[in-house]
């Protein structure tokens, strides 16, 4: 079965990003496909590579990058939400004259159409948020 995942909350403050990660991992382990993971609202904050959590805590952002690396997941952060919150790739950073990209490996920035497309293409859309 093909799942699409929407994540509305950033790492650490709310459990939503953790639950979404655990669900996605379990879906893959049980033979399902992940069509796309779409990060919306504060969820775009999962896409920063600048996070440095304490060593005895999980690194939510890195967990996503690793999972995507291993299973070739499509991690999309909403462009409008990302701009508001300061998540940038090379192009965006250059275009807005900011210091450097801070988007984490395997994440890409795109529009809300990617969420609609995920809804159309996937068998189930799962929304995780607060």
């Amino acid at each position: 079965m093909k799942f699409a995942i929407q994540i509305n909350e950033g790492p650490f403050t709310h459990q939503a990003a953790d639950t979404a990660y655990q669900f996605t991992k379990a879906a893959i382990e049980n033979g399902h496909d992940i069509f796309r993971v779409f990060f919306y609202h504060d969820g775009v904050n999962n896409g920063t590579m600048y996070g440095v959590p304490p060593v005895d805590d999980r690194n939510v952002q890195a967990l996503w990058s690793d999972l995507a690396e291993k299973h070739d997941l499509d991690l999309v952060v909403c462009v409008a939400a990302a701009q508001r919150r300061g998540i940038m790739d090379e192009d965006e950073a250059k275009r807005h004259g900011k210091g450097a990209a801070n988007i984490a490996p395997k994440f890409r920035i795109s529009g809300l159409g990617q969420l609609i497309e995920a809804g159309i293409q996937a068998d189930r859309l799962m929304v995780f948020g607060d």
Binding site: M1, Q15, T19, Q22, F23, A27, R124, M126
Partner: protein, 103 residues
Amino acid sequence: MSTLHTVNKSPFERNSLDTCLLLIKNDSTVLLIEDGVSGALQNTTASQSISDAMQEGVKFAVLGEDLNARGLSADRVIDGISVVDYAGFVQLAADHDNVQSWL
């Protein structure tokens, strides 16, 4: 069509579970996750509304990982609520026709 309803908020703090139970169809399932797992316990101010919905045919499940995190053992869960793990969560989502998240 049958729907999987997920509730991730405490019934003592938010109205999510109330609205969910008001609008749910009898052949559907409620999965309690995150802070919502406290709704699955016996002898709380929320227990009766869950028992009533069960009588109507609504099925209930609770995420065991979230119960354990909060020190709430499975033997305190209302009879008839099944304890599932993340794989069970995935299976529930696959087994129903759509998913309503009461955020």
